[in-house]
Symmetry: C2
Subunit: 347 residues, 2 copies
């Protein structure tokens, strides 16, 4: 049975502001290559021997851009599940599980805004998990932790239960620096990359056990969904009645048979401009002039940026907004976004 | 007899690029206050008891903006002398001297792109020079030299020949750093600010002696000039025949009776973005967001600039161009302008 790629594209994060905005979140932008991250996610699971066409779960506002970007890379058979409102990942995945033609089909759930440099290693990890998944396990993928990041969740691995697959000992929420360093030192912790593999029916069974209200809402929303070509519009009122929760909290941390596949796949969540810099992309040449510069990340969608003697800066122009922060301080983007939101808020 | 302010506005410098461009040079921009530097220059010499309406010498391409900016501050009686081509300052001033109603009228020649913070001290210096000027001296104003700048010309002062006025011992071209330091240490050197006071007839007599071809060309250009309202268009072919030279080389360094008035007038030639920073202007508030910033000069005519943790940078947006250089390196703007000119040049 082929795997159904489920691409979650509901995020509207602002950590890559001003490029990433609610109107055009980062997954729909070519930040890390010639294709957008959304397109790269779809490309990654395109082998028709292994995968069905993808299901896209995204906000109704992004139906058009998602469809256009898939068409641009020759994918015209995707199913678009258009969330009428945001209810976090657990209900979003429930919609996909309910839309699966065969209840026992395995779903490969992937965020659309992450970079995975080593597709081969990624597909090998999926392949390793598949036998256990078909036998009833819910699998997650554990990213090799290379530094004591405080911005990620961690997964502690227990015994190996199959070739290259371990039982999950526990999930750890975003830790403080000390705890993160301990986990890195322990050697048996990996980052939670938010990528999952399980059968549709097993996921729905777990929901029935741990969050029946969520399952009921998703079912109701799908039973009353409008369908236009390959687009599915779940019923707004029914879906809005669902509790809002992440798959980690709602299911993975509660279920019994949870496996983790440690995977060294060149992963980055591109959670900051510094993270994009670390990918060491080719410099943008058009619209940029750097004289005696070093260590800068400079991007512009329009205005011509001219620098001389500038070092270790992040300079991003998009539309009528320009961001400048020193490298290593790109988390301060959130201070800027907050200040702008405060300014824009009605008094 | 009242003094005729002669405002030289032919410059099209690029040291304040991207704000200053050939189309709108820095003197026509409000870089150092609410008014443009051109307007501030006109305001400085507006007392009708002392000054006639001004004569503006500028390129024909800037006739409209100069007229509009004068009208905006209520000056509608200026004479506009519109150079058909650029021949440096000596011929430009010759046009003004020839346009003076009374040959013996004193001309106060001023660049339009300098800042003079202390107008009172400036007018006092003019007043000090006037008796000697009426008696035949060509006067220049010597700016108190506060640091060993290598970008300015220097004037060595000889004996005092009147209250607060000295004979010029010599003019020194832009020196190297060592020579500049020696001159500062000597105590008898001042910067050449490019401001002059002399009678029209005495200037023309000096030209007749030292550069008769220039005088002939200017006379010919004025005799064949077109006149429209208060605009004078000197004849193009006649003016183009003039040698191109600065007043310093053509006249001041050669004439015998040359005086200098040392003047501490809060002068800046705004020759770089660093110089503008030193004026400690109020920060621009509109379109700019600075979080945890310090020591920056940030200006934008449009795009919203958002910074966090940025220190000691010069960030200037104008139209479709953005400049970023560290403070102290704004002379590198010329590298950028050269690179752009090279790129734009036909292959």
């Amino acid at each position: 049975m082929r795997i159904i790629p489920v691409i979650l594209s509901g995020g509207g994060g602002t950590r890559l502001w001003p490029m990433s905005t609610p109107e055009c979140p980062k997954q729909f932008q070519a930040l890390a290559g010639d294709q957008t991250m959304f397109q790269m996610t779809a490309e990654r699971t395109r082998d028709p021997n292994i995968f069905t066409p993808p299901m896209i779960v995204t906000g109704a506002a992004h139906a058009q851009i998602a469809g256009q970007q898939l068409n641009a890379i020759g994918i015209d058979t995707a199913t678009l599940l258009l969330e009428p409102c945001a209810r976090n990942t657990a209900p979003a995945i429930a919609l996909a599980a309910l839309a699966a033609e065969h209840p026992e089909a395995p779903l490969l759930v992937m965020p659309s805004d992450h970079v995975i440099a080593d597709t081969k290693a990624f597909l090998a990890a999926v392949d390793a998990a598949l036998p256990l998944v078909m036998a009833g396990w819910l699998a997650t993928f554990g990213i090799t932790a290379t530094s004591p990041e405080t911005g990620y969740g961690y997964i502690q691995m227990a015994d190996e239960i199959g070739a290259g697959v371990n039982r999950v000992a526990r999930f750890v929420e975003k830790p403080d620096a000390e705890k993160a360093a301990e986990m890195i030192a322990s050697g048996d912790h990996v980052w939670n990359g938010g990528i999952f593999l399980f059968r549709a029916d097993h996921y729905l069974a777990a929901l029935a056990e741990f969050s029946p209200a969520m399952l009921a809402a998703a079912k109701n929303a799908m039973e009353n969904a409008a369908r236009v070509d390959q687009k599915i519009y779940p019923d707004m009122d029914a879906f809005a009645a669902s509790p809002s929760d992440s798959i980690d909290y709602a299911v993975m941390e509660k279920a019994d048979k949870v496996a983790v596949v440690p995977a060294n796949i060149g992963w980055s969540d591109l959670g900051s401009w510094d993270a994009l810099y670390e990918l060491e992309q080719k410099p943008q040449l058009e619209n940029i002039l750097e004289i005696d510069g070093n260590g800068n990340l400079i991007r512009s969608d329009g205005i011509r940026i001219h620098t001389a003697g500038v070092e270790d800066m992040i300079i991003i122009a998009n539309g009528n907004d320009l961001l400048i922060v020193p490298r290593g301080k790109s988390q301060d983007v959130k201070k800027i976004v907050e200040a702008l939101q405060k300014k824009a808020a009605p008094k």
